[in-house]
């Protein structure tokens, strides 16, 4: 167990170092950092002084070491475009993205799991067929198109909901929240649904597939033979046994939600990190790109690590297999 965790931890560190190396190479070799930081009328001496001060003449490993150390402390330098520290910009915009992502994840889970269970139990019901058809459409509609359709329906035709921005926000310390005002909540509805829809269909299809698999097993048949009520078999026996893969996928999807937030934030002009990232890609604002890359990688690596360890803890068969094959 300790050995396994240590091995996975080591892998995670290697991944993070690789990502940091890519981010550093981006920062150092894509475009000239000095040119991007100073104005046109800066003299050669001033440029040389800045280069000296930033240590851009040091050996590669020294520079990378410094970059990694700063990155570990959350410092990624100054944005070329905004002329402000990247860490400040991210701190400012993180709450918007996190509120949106977490709400979408909750929505996707709260709707996706019951729909998956229902379609598995009533396989041939008309409602199940409707759900399955809807889910295929949900997978085929790109996220941005769902957003545009929602804007057209609820924003332009019905005029019920705001079509862009976060509404009024309240500051709680450094965290700005849109959850406490009516306009903030209203502004959250459409982006949250847009972001949740794709994950919802994925979760639903996964739960359905896993449930169908489990309902075929002998212990479910045995449960039925014992005369256990359907409700007990479906929810206590079957659903519980589908939860391991479902939790894994949901964990991995959490990372995907943050990535897909880029699209949703662009459609709804939501002032989060995703919108800032896509603007940075358009304007080749390397410090922001590097910071976002490292941050997203960190989120993914942590989620992967936690899921792997959870798997190991939850499923005893994994432990036995490893012991038996000597891995």
């Amino acid at each position: 167990m300790i050995g396994f965790i240590f091995k996975r931890l080591l892998q995670s560190v290697i991944v993070m170092l690789t990502v940091a190396l890519i981010a550093f190479a981006l920062f150092r070799y894509v475009g000239d950092p000095i040119n991007n930081m100073v104005g046109q009328d800066t003299t050669q001496e001033e440029r040389a002084a800045l280069k000296e001060r930033l240590g851009l003449d040091d050996p590669f490993l020294v520079q990378f070491g410094r970059f990694a150390k700063n990155a570990a402390q959350g410092e990624f330098g100054i944005s070329y475009q905004h002329r402000r520290p990247v860490s400040d910009l991210i701190a400012e915009r993180a709450p918007a993205t996190l509120e949106l992502s977490l709400l979408s994840a909750l929505l996707a889970i709260a709707v996706g799991i019951p729909m998956g269970v229902y379609t598995a139990i009533r396989r041939d019901g008309w409602l199940s067929r409707a759900f399955m058809s809807l889910s295929l459409i949900g997978i085929s509609l790109p996220t941005f198109l769902i957003g545009i359709l929602l804007i057209l329906l609820f924003g332009v035709i019905l005029r019920w909901l705001p079509t862009f921005g976060r509404g009024e926000v309240v500051q709680l310390g450094w965290w700005s929240t849109g959850l406490l005002t009516a306009s903030g909540l209203k502004a959250l509805i459409m982006p949250a649904i847009t972001l949740a829809l794709f994950q919802m269909t994925l979760i639903m299809r996964l739960v359905r597939a896993e449930m169908l698999e489990v309902l075929r097993t002998d212990f479910v048949k045995f449960g039925r033979a014992r005369g256990l009520p359907d409700r007990y078999i479906h929810f206590k026996t079957a659903l519980k046994n589908t939860m391991v893969p479902v939790i894994t996928i949901i964990g991995l999807q959490l990372g995907a939600i943050i990535a897909f937030a880029i699209i949703t934030e662009t459609v709804f002009q939501w002032p989060g990190m995703g919108l800032m990232f896509i603007q940075a890609v358009r304007e080749v604002d390397i410090p922001i790109m590097a910071a976002y890359l490292v941050m997203i990688a960190l989120i993914f690596v942590v989620i992967n690590l936690v899921v792997d360890i959870l798997y190991y803890v939850v499923d005893p068969r994994l432990r036995v297999d490893r012991a038996a094959t000597g891995h």
Binding site: I137, S140, L152, L252, A259, I263, A280
Partner: protein, 312 residues
């Protein structure tokens, strides 16, 4: 070739029409419909200059007097423009056909690129084994942990940074093909590697090796034919994903340049007119995109089931 045709009781075509897959195909109307729709859109895209009612890039044929006309069945609609016109007087139907051309060109090229890269790496990984295999599969694992669209976005951003600013527009399409292609090779590599591992220890492969056939020939003639089915299924579903990715990146402004019509740029440009009531500029390209992706997905789902011997 003629020799084999004579010896088999029926022609190749005859055998194809008698196969399980053909029977399964002909029995599912929804699959036939989606195949027809996919082929129709592909054909329209390939033959765009002959099929499109107008040429939206021929400045001589565009008249600003025709700008922002609604679809022909609505009030003020003009029978010359079936789905209406945009703010510059271009026919929406024609821009969709030309847009599909770019979108499909990029997606198909990206899928082919992914496929070649994935199959090559998968074959090498499975056949050579050892450290090479470990490195390739480790990279694949790491890449699989990130959503493909994010990787494509990052590659796009990096290449943009590496190139001088005024070159972006010219090379954007190649960059996009490269970015989408790189982000999708893992699925192919894993499948091909698995089959290679199984095949390489079979007796006929060992026999081939004994009589001195080189590894490239063995992989090409004996291992590769075993994976065409699964690779075809992955490619179909990947095509749908590639089309969505292209549209999304172009919509976000990091794909093809805004002046080039693709499904994504058309929807993006049209989004601004949503609020002034000219919904058709963005909604029709959107519907076209959704229908195309849905048709390919349905076809891919069926192909996966049809080629899966477990489900027969």
């Amino acid at each position: 070739m003629a020799d084999t045709l004579q010896r088999t009781p029926r022609t190749r075509l005859g055998r194809a029409f008698d196969s399980d897959i053909w029977h399964s195909f002909i029995r599912s109307p929804l699959v036939i419909l989606s195949a027809v729709i996919s082929i129709a859109i592909f054909a329209a895209a390939i033959f765009a200059p002959w099929i499109a009612p107008h040429n939206p890039f021929d400045l001589a044929s565009i008249d600003l007097m025709d700008s922002s006309l609604p679809p022909m069945w609505l009030e003020d609609g003009d029978p010359r423009f079936l789905l209406g016109t945009d703010d510059q007087g271009r026919d929406i139907l024609s821009t969709i056909i030309y847009g599909a051309r770019i979108s499909l060109l990029v997606s198909v090229a990206a899928v082919v690129f992914s496929m070649v890269l994935g199959i090559t790496l998968g074959l090498i990984s499975g056949y050579v084994g050892g450290r090479t295999d470990a490195i390739i599969m480790r990279v694949a694992d790491v890449q699989l942990a990130f959503p493909a669209i994010l990787i494509a976005m990052l590659i796009d951003g990096v290449v943009r940074g590496l190139l001088p600013r005024d070159m972006h527009g010219d090379v954007a399409i190649y960059v996009l093909v490269f970015a989408i292609g790189i982000s999708g090779w893992v699925q192919y590599a894993r499948t091909v590697r698995g089959s290679t591992l199984v095949e390489k220890n079979k007796e006929y492969v060992q026999a081939a090796r004994v009589i001195g056939i080189g590894p490239v020939t063995i992989l090409w003639r004996h291992v590769l034919p075993n994976v065409t089915g699964p690779v075809l299924v992955i490619a179909t579903i990947h095509l749908a994903i590639a089309i969505i990715t292209e549209a999304t990146l172009s919509f976000l402004g990091v794909g093809v340049p805004p002046t080039t019509p693709s499904m994504g740029t058309l929807i993006q440009v049209g989004q601004d007119y949503l609020f002034s009531g000219e919904w058709w500029i963005t909604i029709f390209p959107g519907i076209a995109l959704a229908v195309l992706v849905l048709a390919i997905n349905l076809f891919g789902d069926w192909l996966r089931d049809a080629l899966n011997p477990k489900l027969r």
